[in-house]
């Protein structure tokens, strides 16, 4: 394994932590946090894909001459994915509010009307 690949490994670890939170926590808000963690990991992964060693932001306004620029596409993709993450988090939290209204709890073990 190459130590230079550490950013990729960190992103993967974030995703793994998120999945762990999602699978093993009992509180609905913690599940939302788990999903957000996975999202953050994926976003971080996308951004790291675009980096070029020594590169500057791909913006020409007052840019230093003759510098390498990092790739713009991953940044655009990350922007999109962040907005999508915001949207899903908002909807998930709204559902959590309503579940709390109906069931009076956020414990997944007690929110189990739908079985079988």
């Amino acid at each position: 394994m190459n130590i230079g690949n550490l950013p990729f490994v960190v992103a993967a670890l974030l995703v793994v932590f998120g999945i762990y939170t999602f699978l093993f926590k009992r509180n609905l808000v913690k599940l939302v946090i788990g999903v957000s963690l996975v999202e953050t990991g994926v976003n971080l992964f996308l951004v790291t894909l675009g980096y070029r060693t020594g590169g500057i932001a791909p913006i020409y306004t007052f840019a230093p001459q003759a510098q390498r620029m990092v790739l713009p596409t991953p940044q655009a993709l990350t922007l999109t994915s962040i907005v999508i993450g915001l949207a899903t988090t908002a909807l998930l939290l709204s559902f959590a509010v309503f579940i709390h209204r109906h069931y009076g709890t956020l414990d997944v073990r007690k929110v189990k009307e739908l079985q079988g």
Partner: protein, 157 residues
Amino acid sequence: MNSGMSIIVRTITRLVYGLAIVFGFYVIMHGHLTPGGGFQGGAVVASAFALLLVAFGAAGVKGKLNAHLLQSLEEIGALAFLALGFVGIGTAFFYNLLANSGSLFGGPVLPLGSNPGVFNAGGTLPLMNWAVGLKVMTGIAAIVIVMLIGARKEETE
């Protein structure tokens, strides 16, 4: 219902929220030249709205920020963005008709490479930034205000 937070937070908010809104509009306006754009600037403006909501409480902004008005504005932003996509349908959907056309936002970028930034360029980009900026600031503000009011109702019951 206890609306809002302490006097310190309220005073700071009064000082800061105007600046945040102005900065957000700056980010939207110069999206094609500097870091940022419609989404980022819209989020900054929405954060100013969220700050107001947190500092003054749902009751404090009642009548000033109306979720349904915000939603209507968001729809207008979305429709404007879609319409800008349709502008170039003569060639293809999302064709940048205005770029390098010499008309509005159609100026050439000179000199190429590092420059101080030509504001009158980018074709439909600045217009799209405005449409998306309007959409994002109103959309996020609507989500925040609706969720805050809904959650508060929960506590008082």
